[in-house]
Amino acid sequence: MSQIAGHLEPYLVLAGILFSIGAFGFLARRNAISMLMSIELMLNAVNLSAVALGAFIPALVGQGIAFALLIIAVAAAEATVGLAIVIAIYRNRKTPLVDEYDTMRQ
């Protein structure tokens, strides 16, 4: 009966839109932390697509969630280290704006 929620495509469409938004944010924002937030969005989009596929394909029952759980764990680790790096650089450069990290410039 459900036209939308009962089919796979809408979930994947949602995931795709989320990923695109995250990609734009990652490439376009100045603040490093904003970039990290966009990365989290992208990771969540992937999670969503994994779970959706796991839900609608009987052969993949349970795998989708397991996969998504592992992704969450990895995302947590990555966020930890990333933020620690941003804080360390902030101490050095006194700014969180990636525009101004350009000493490696040729």
């Binding site: 990652f26 490439l27 970039m35 990636v98 990290y101 350009d102 000493t103 410039r105 040729q106």
Partner: protein, 657 residues
């Protein structure tokens, strides 16, 4: 003597009449070489005594040479001479080049001239170079030269001859440029060496041709092969002409004659020895030695004769107007060498060698005499600044007069005998044009030589006031006197009776194979036939030239001379400028060569270096361009990642899985 013995390995040459040389024969080479090495090593410290060892070694060499040459000329060493193998020089695969000495009548003739004039020049140099700081160096070079020349004459292998060829060229270079602190001697030495080199290219190519045909450069093997007909036709012509190239260079024939007048920059003993009596004769010797090769090709003989007689008249015409005393003699040498080659070219082998001998003596005398004159007027070489020296330097005057009469070809002095034989045989063998030009040259020779005498010794003295004219020391006048003797008598000694003298008998067997190839036979000499007529003609021409020269230049007839030259102004100018041949050389080779070299340099700089530098520049620019990617900004790198991802996805979509 044990050293000498160990050097000689007894090996008999092929042929039925090759005798063995005495064991001391290699001393001919060792003594001058030892003299050179000794003087080069220690000479500087010996100061004024530096001449003792070189002079002694050359006198000893003269003695040994006479002990071998006189028997050779008289035929006592056998018809084909004697030889001894010394050692194997190069053994490479199928090519072997041995070093050995060969003495026959031809060698004897050369030895006679080379060692006699050489010894006398050494003695002369003691006086002439006594004030020169490079005294020891001069004698070292002289000995080196003697060694090289003797090696050239004695060698029985053409490769050794070639090596000696280059060595005499080197010695000539060192001696011409002896006063190297001045500019002209260095330039002249370079010119001599380079011009010689041009001829040597042909020579070397000819040698390669001989190796290709015969597989060896051993002279007797080659000549035997040519006699047997192994080399004939166009191949013989080509090889003969190539070898003649070397002779043209070394003996300063047209067009490689340009170095000889300039070589007068060297000290006068050098001019006398090298450029009159010995080195320039090497070309004549070479052609004479290889006579069967030339006889095998009619075209080559024609070329030799043509170049020879052309050089003769070419040089004679220039000698008319030269004012430097040594230059007149230089052009005279060129002219007489032309005579010799003309004789070789028409097949008059013996007269050519005869003239070589007589010319060696009287030209050596004339050069040494001119050196004495220059010494007397303290360095002045221009004849307009001389004059009236007959009374003040009598010995020099007398000996030079003897030399002049000899070269003019007036009987009974030496020049008459040899020159007359050349002209006579040229006519009899059918080369009337050679005979005709030769007659003109004979007259011209007499004229310009007596002009030289007149300007230098007769008339009023034009010597500058500050010069104290004095006769030369005995070390210089003694060689003059000693050389005057053969200038008077050697013609008669070697050439009488006509066509039957010592020289003819000695040399006839050597040139027999060539004569066979040419089809010439030995004819009897008829006084009241063609030979007498020809002799009368040549004497007449020489006398006419003498008389004209004497009358014009006996006393100061400056006005008459000026009148004559004014009427012939273009000819006069051309002759004075050596017929602009040097300028032609300069235009073609020097200027054009410089242009080509500059063009090549431009090409190398711009194109070749440009390409190499261009590669570097390209890499550098590319690098600089690529460096723009390294912005150092994380966001740009992230953009790159996203771009790559998008590209891969598109590719995957477009190309399928």
């Amino acid at each position: 003597m044990s050293l000498v013995s160990t050097l000689i390995r007894v090996a008999s040459e092929g042929g039925e009449s090759a005798a063995q040389l005495p064991e001391y024969a290699p001393l001919l080479l060792i003594l001058p070489l030892a003299g050179f090495l000794f003087t080069a090593a220690i000479g500087r410290r010996l100061g004024k005594l530096a001449h003792l060892v070189p002079l002694g070694s050359i006198v000893a060499t003269w003695g040994i040479a006479m002990s071998l040459a006189i028997p050779a000329l008289l035929g006592d060493l056998g018809e084909h001479g004697a030889s001894s193998e010394l050692f194997t020089w190069i053994a490479s695969g199928s090519l072997t080049f041995n070093m050995g000495i060969h003495v026959d009548a031809l060698t004897g003739a050369l030895l006679l001239v080379v060692t006699t004039v050489g010894a006398l020049v050494h003695l002369y140099s003691v006086g002439y170079m006594s004030h020169d700081p490079g005294y020891w160096r001069f004698f070292a070079y002289l000995n080196l030269f003697m060694f090289s020349m003797l090696l050239l004459v004695l060698a029985n292998n053409l490769l050794v001859v070639f090596a000696a060829w280059e060595l005499v060229g080197l010695s000539s270079y060192l001696l011409i440029g002896f006063w190297y602190t001045k500019r002209e001697p260095g330039l002249a030495a370079k010119k001599a060496f380079i011009t010689n080199r041009v001829g040597d290219v042909g020579f070397a190519l000819g040698l390669m041709g001989l190796v290709a045909v015969f597989g060896t450069l051993d002279i007797s093997t080659i000549l035997a092969g040519v006699e047997a007909g192994q080399l004939a036709g166009p191949a013989a012509t080509v090889i003969a002409l190539l070898i003649f190239c070397g002779a043209v260079g070394k003996s300063a024939q047209f067009p490689l004659h340009v170095w000889l007048p300039d070589a007068m920059e060297g000290p006068t003993p050098v001019s006398a020895l090298i450029h009159a009596a010995t080195m320039v004769n090497a070309g004549v010797y070479l052609v004479a030695r290889m006579s069967p090769l030339f006889a095998a090709s009619h075209e080559a003989m024609l070329v030799v004769a043509a170049i020879g007689i052309f050089t003769a008249i070419f040089a004679a015409s220039i000698a008319f107007t030269q004012t430097d005393i040594k230059r007149v003699l230089a052009f005279s040498t060129l002219s007489q060498l032309g005579y010799m080659f003309a004789a070789l070219g028409v097949g008059a082998w013996v007269p050519a060698i005869f003239h070589l001998i007589t010319h060696g003596f009287f030209k050596g005398l004339l050069f040494l005499g001119s050196g004495s004159v220059i010494h007397a007027v303290e360095g002045e070489q221009e004849m307009p600044k001389m004059g009236g020296l007959a009374k003040t330097i009598p010995i020099t005057y007398a000996t030079m007069l003897i030399g002049t009469v000899a070269i003019a070809g007036l009987p009974p002095l030496a020049g008459f005998w040899s020159k007359d034989e050349i002209l006579g045989e040229a006519f009899k063998f059918g080369y009337a044009w050679v005979w005709l030009v030769g007659m003109v040259v004979a007259g011209a020779t007499a004229f310009y030589m007596f002009r030289l005498m007149g300007l230098t010794f007769w008339g009023k003295s034009r010597v500058s006031e500050s010069v104290h004219v004095h006769e030369s020391p005995w070390t210089m006048t003694l060689p003059l006197i000693l050389l005057a003797i053969p200038s008077i008598g050697i013609g008669a000694l070697l050439g009488f009776p006509f066509a039957d003298g010592i020289l003819v008998h000695g040399l006839e067997p050597i040139f027999h194979p060539a004569n066979v190839l040419l089809g010439h036979e030995h004819e009897a000499w008829t006084l009241f036939g063609i030979d007498g007529l020809l002799m009368l003609a040549s004497v007449t021409v020489a006398s006419i030239g003498t008389v004209i020269g004497v009358r014009l230049f006996r006393s100061d007839h400056g006005d008459r001379i000026r009148a004559i030259t004014a009427r012939l102004q273009p000819l006069y100018a051309g002759s004075k400028n050596r017929w602009f041949f040097d300028d032609l050389n300069d235009l073609i080779f020097v200027r054009l060569g410089t242009r080509l070299a500059n063009a090549a340099w431009w090409f190398d700089r711009r194109v070749v270096d440009g390409a190499v530098n261009g590669v570097g520049a390209l890499t550098s620019t590319g690098g600089r361009g690529l460096r723009q990617i390294q912005t150092g900004r994380v966001q740009n790198y992230a953009f790159g990642i996203a771009l790559g991802l998008a590209a891969m996805a598109v590719a995957y979509l477009v190309l399928g899985s």
